[in-house]
Amino acid sequence: MATPKPRVKVPKKASAGDIIEIKTLISHEMESGQRKDKEGKAIPRKIINKFTCTFNGAEVFSCDIEPAIAANPYFEFNAKVTENGTFRFEWIDDDGSVYDTEETITVS
């Protein structure tokens, strides 16, 4: 499978004190470890096991993920913004890979 591609939706602008909505999705097969191949052998588990969102270095939201999260993990959550800054998103794979992306927001 191709390298997982993160996609996030963050408003470009907000007023100080606003609670904004953030949508994130990363392409990933989330192999649960429960499936078997044609020979009846178990396909090893390979999932994203952790997702974190920080704003200017401080944690906003994070999630410990089990195989029961659907393929292409999707998370929608909120953040209260008081200043200009950068949201950083990180997904950690079972194999240790880290996929990340950033979005900036202007707060007036």
């Binding site: 609670i19 904004i20 649960s32 429960q34 499936r35 078997k36 704003f55 401080a58 944690e59 906003v60 939201f61 994070s62 999630c63 410990d64 993920i65 089990e66 195989p67 029961a68 999260i69 659907a70 393929a71 993990p73 999707y74 998370f75 929608e76 959550f77 909120n78 953040a79 209260k80």
Partner: protein, 151 residues
């Protein structure tokens, strides 16, 4: 106690429900008991109260591979009083654990949406732990037409 007709009826109905539940439990990996243990592991042994947390899930999910669910916890989300974590469990999956969401006062509100896998018709449970240590639970049954954990 005098056995009235009504008593007798409710007794036999109860027995029927019991045998039905027993029959359904046998094949699956996880059980409501395992989910109950996972709840206690999350709360540190505190019995969850009802209220404050709302779990939104479809009544019927045609495809168990991707079932949208949302949690919404009533909290001011201030530094002194906020929702720390919400764990999501599925009673009938091979493992009951689905995900644990961690909020901070910077989350603004304790609301989140994701998509989960359900192996069969079962209860989905969401348990919230507040910063003061209190815990709240909500539960929804989701009927699954095509299971999401096999293959």
């Amino acid at each position: 106690m005098q056995v009235s007709r009504r008593n007798l009826l409710s007794l036999s109905a109860g027995a029927a429900v019991l045998s039905l539940v027993g029959g359904r439990l046998a094949p699956a990996g996880a059980t409501p008991a395992a989910a109950g243990e996972a709840v206690m592991a999350f709360t540190g042994g505190t019995e969850p109260q009802t209220g404050r947390i709302t779990l939104t899930a479809p009544e019927i999910a045609e495809n168990g591979n991707t079932v949208p669910i949302s949690v919404n916890v009533d909290s001011p989300m201030t530094d002194a009083d906020y929702v720390q974590s919400v764990t999501i469990l599925a009673e009938g999956n091979p493992n009951p654990e689905v995900a644990t969401l961690h909020f901070t006062p910077m989350s603004g509100v304790a609301v989140a949406t994701t998509r989960i896998r359900l192996a069969e018709t079962q209860n989905v449970i969401a348990v919230a732990r507040m910063s003061d240590g209190s815990v709240y639970m909500d539960k929804k049954e989701v009927k699954v037409t095509i299971g999401g954990c096999g293959g």
